[in-house]
């Protein structure tokens, strides 16, 4: 579903990403771990074609993202660390707007149902998004993925700043999406959530993918030691 082949990105002499290759399959949550500046967000930005790779290729559902940016984005829902919505529109209207940009026309009832399925309280749907907490906004992001029925989720530290309950709720939603066949690539600092939610973890350091393991083969302590050892290097 998601595939990176030898991706390299250099910013004015600084190598942000070096020869990165990874693959995320359907029904899989791949957690990218690493310190700030390790290259996690750069990887996600390359899949979104926000930036151009200096070499290598990123594929989404078999589509080369730099050759077919619009086509490839039809398969992606992106949830940044701080998902922002239009403050003057309600959650429902925001969802309708972004669904419309994807060419999807859903009626109000279907949109409400999706928001509720994404965990938003039914009475919150009509409130202005300016009154939403971060957790509520992230749920609108998940609702967007559900409504658009995209098979790829790119998440850039989506639980950062969320309280444990909201973070847990968010992880539940991700698992639900995964079980429905979504391929999720999530950049995160949250080792615990990565172990609990992910199927696979990849540790990045200085723009390189230095470790890749299935989460089932590691305990929480082993993951932490592994992460810290790469951080020290």
């Amino acid at each position: 579903m998601l595939e990176a082949n030898s991706l390299t990105k250099i910013y004015s002499g600084f190598t942000a990403l070096s020869d990165l290759s990874l693959q995320v399959n359907e029904g899989e949550i791949y957690c990218l771990l690493g310190a700030n500046g390790a290259g996690k967000s750069t990887t996600i930005n390359l899949f979104l074609n926000f930036i151009e790779a200096d070499s290598g290729t990123a594929y989404v559902n078999g589509l080369n993202v730099s050759e077919k940016p619009v086509e490839s984005k039809k398969h992606i829902t992106y949830i940044p660390e701080n998902l922002s919505l239009y403050k003057n529109l309600s959650g429902l209207e925001n969802l309708a707007f972004f669904c419309g940009l994807s060419g999807m026309k859903l009626d109000d009832a279907a949109l409400r149902e999706t928001l509720t399925a994404a965990g938003l309280q039914p009475d919150a749907a009509d409130k202005k998004a300016g009154q939403y907490s971060k957790g509520m906004r992230q749920k609108v992001g998940i609702a967007l993925a559900m409504a658009r029925n995209t098979k790829v989720l790119l998440l850039d530290e989506p639980t950062s700043g969320l309280d444990p309950a909201a973070s847990n709720e968010f992880a539940e939603l991700l698992r639900k999406m995964r079980d429905q066949g979504a391929a999720v690539l999530m950049a995160t600092h949250d080792l615990f959530r990565a172990k609990e939610t992910g199927n696979k973890i990849g540790i990045m350091s200085n723009g390189k993918l230095v470790e890749e393991q299935p989460t089932s083969s590691l305990t929480h302590q082993q993951l932490e030691r592994l992460y810290l050892s790469h951080l020290a290097n």
Binding site: V70, E71, I76, N82, L85, F97, F98, G100, L101
Partner: protein
């Protein structure tokens, strides 16, 4: 897709304050501009009505007196009081007729040059001159210009466009929605274009509604070709500024940089380019100072006075058929000399004026060619032309007065030379501009 974005732009703007603020500003400034234009036009019309009433009253009273004289009801003791005397009807007191430049049907649109050039003048046998109502106005008012509709449309409207369009992309980035927008399967430029189209349509509707509603209220014939032209030009002008906003938004700079760039463009196109063009025009075609012109006019007058006898002698030598009879009254002899002098002065002054008018015309031609560098200049000159208060039309007063002066003199001078008194029937033949 565009329709979808337009629909949500409308929803967003209805929930926001800016739509209401912009509407109030546009309505208030348009209303002020209309009021000012109407006030100036009314003042002109009142002036014209006043002088025409005076003129009509004068000739009506003279006709009445002439009829009374002929009926033997009154006796006229002095020649200068005789309503049949051509001099009394053409040169004395309130005699003379007014040549006017009427305000055009779209006059409320722009004060234009009407506060600088006179719009009526009185033609008499020897002393014709343009008259001005604005001679006593505080010059600071002229410096600041009028708050008319042209000012609102040419100067203020772009600021509103800039305020609405400077940060279409950067505000998305600064509020954090750009990344979500960029992740959608639609190019961000498509969203940007839709946002510009929405604002363009919205401002066009508000502006044209205020403008045409106001003009209709003041009885301006907006349902005409001129009205259609005005609407098209306003749309083009708005389109120019929105296009500029769109291009600046493509640069992906911050809101602050966009604002500075657009405001810079506003200053350049509205202030710097016109000033620069004036400087270039003045440098290439310098016009002698007004003091020189006034001095020259005086010199011509003094010269004519000094050699008046010589002028009269030469004139009658060249026009023997006009030599008056020996027994003509003294005043007629004096007036013959005055008329010959006035003809001489007029001819010499016209020649002298050419030396001043030529560089002015050359400047105008140059500015006319270069005004395409600045859409605001083009728009301003279009509005002034449509209002009928442009310099060309108002300057035409001089030519109209000169033409009527000839007609006036043709009618009266022959009668004067023959001392042919007017009858009540002749009053209908007195020329009018």
């Amino acid at each position: 897709m565009i329709r979808h974005i337009l629909y949500y732009e409308l929803k967003k703007s209805l929930a926001d304050r800016w739509l209401w603020i912009v509407s109030i500003i546009l309505i208030a400034t348009t209303a002020t501009g209309l009021y000012e234009g109407h006030r100036l036009t009314e003042a002109r019309l009142n002036s014209l009505e006043f002088v025409r009433t005076q003129e009509a009253n004068f000739y009506a009273s003279q006709l009445e007196r002439l009829k009374q004289k002929e009926a033997g009801e009154i006796e006229i003791e002095n020649w200068w009081q005789d309503p049949a005397n051509p001099l009394v009807l053409s040169a004395f007191g309130a005699a003379g007729k007014h040549v006017v430049i009427e305000p055009g049907p779209f006059s409320v649109l722009a004060a234009g040059q009407s506060d600088i050039f006179p719009f009526y003048g009185k033609v008499r046998l020897t002393a014709s001159q343009p008259l001005r109502d604005n001679a006593f106005e505080n010059p600071i008012h002229k410096l600041n210009g009028k708050f008319d509709l042209a000012f609102v449309l040419v100067w203020l409207l772009p600021l509103i466009v800039i305020a609405l369009g400077y940060n279409l992309r950067s505000s998305e980035r600064e509020s954090g929605t750009l990344s979500l927008l960029q992740s959608m399967p639609v190019p961000v430029n498509t969203v940007l274009r839709a946002k510009i189209i929405y604002r363009y349509a919205l401002i066009s509707i508000i502006t044209l509604s205020c403008l045409f509603g106001g003009l209709l209220l003041f009885g301006v014939p907006v349902f005409s070709l001129s009205g259609l032209g005005l609407a098209a030009t306003v749309l083009l002008y708005l389109g120019f500024w929105f296009l500029l906003c769109y291009l600046i938004n493509l640069t992906e700079t911050s809101s602050a940089v966009n604002a500075v760039l657009l405001f810079g463009a506003w200053i350049t196109l509205l202030l710097i380019v016109p000033s620069l063009l004036n400087t270039i025009a003045n440098a290439l075609h310098p016009v002698p100072s007004r003091a020189v012109w006034v001095t020259e006019r005086r010199a011509i007058g003094q010269e004519a006075t000094q050699k008046q006898d010589e002028l009269v002698e030469t004139y009658f030598a060249n026009h023997p058929q006009e030599v008056p009879e020996e027994d003509i009254p003294d005043y007629l002899e004096i007036w013959n000399a005055r008329l010959i002098r006035a003809d001489y002065v007029r001819e010499r002054q016209q020649q002298a004026q050419l030396a001043f008018e030529q560089p002015v015309q050359a400047q105008k031609a140059l500015v006319n060619r270069l005004k395409y560098l600045s859409p605001p200049m083009l728009f301003q000159s279009y509005l002034e032309k449509l209002s009928g208060n442009n310099a060309d039309r108002l300057r035409n007063l001089d030519h109209k007065m000169m033409a009527f002066q000839n007609e006036w003199n043709d009618f009266f001078v022959t009668r004067l030379q023959r001392l042919e008194y007017l009858t009540p029937e002749d009053f209908d033949q007195i020329p009018s501009p």
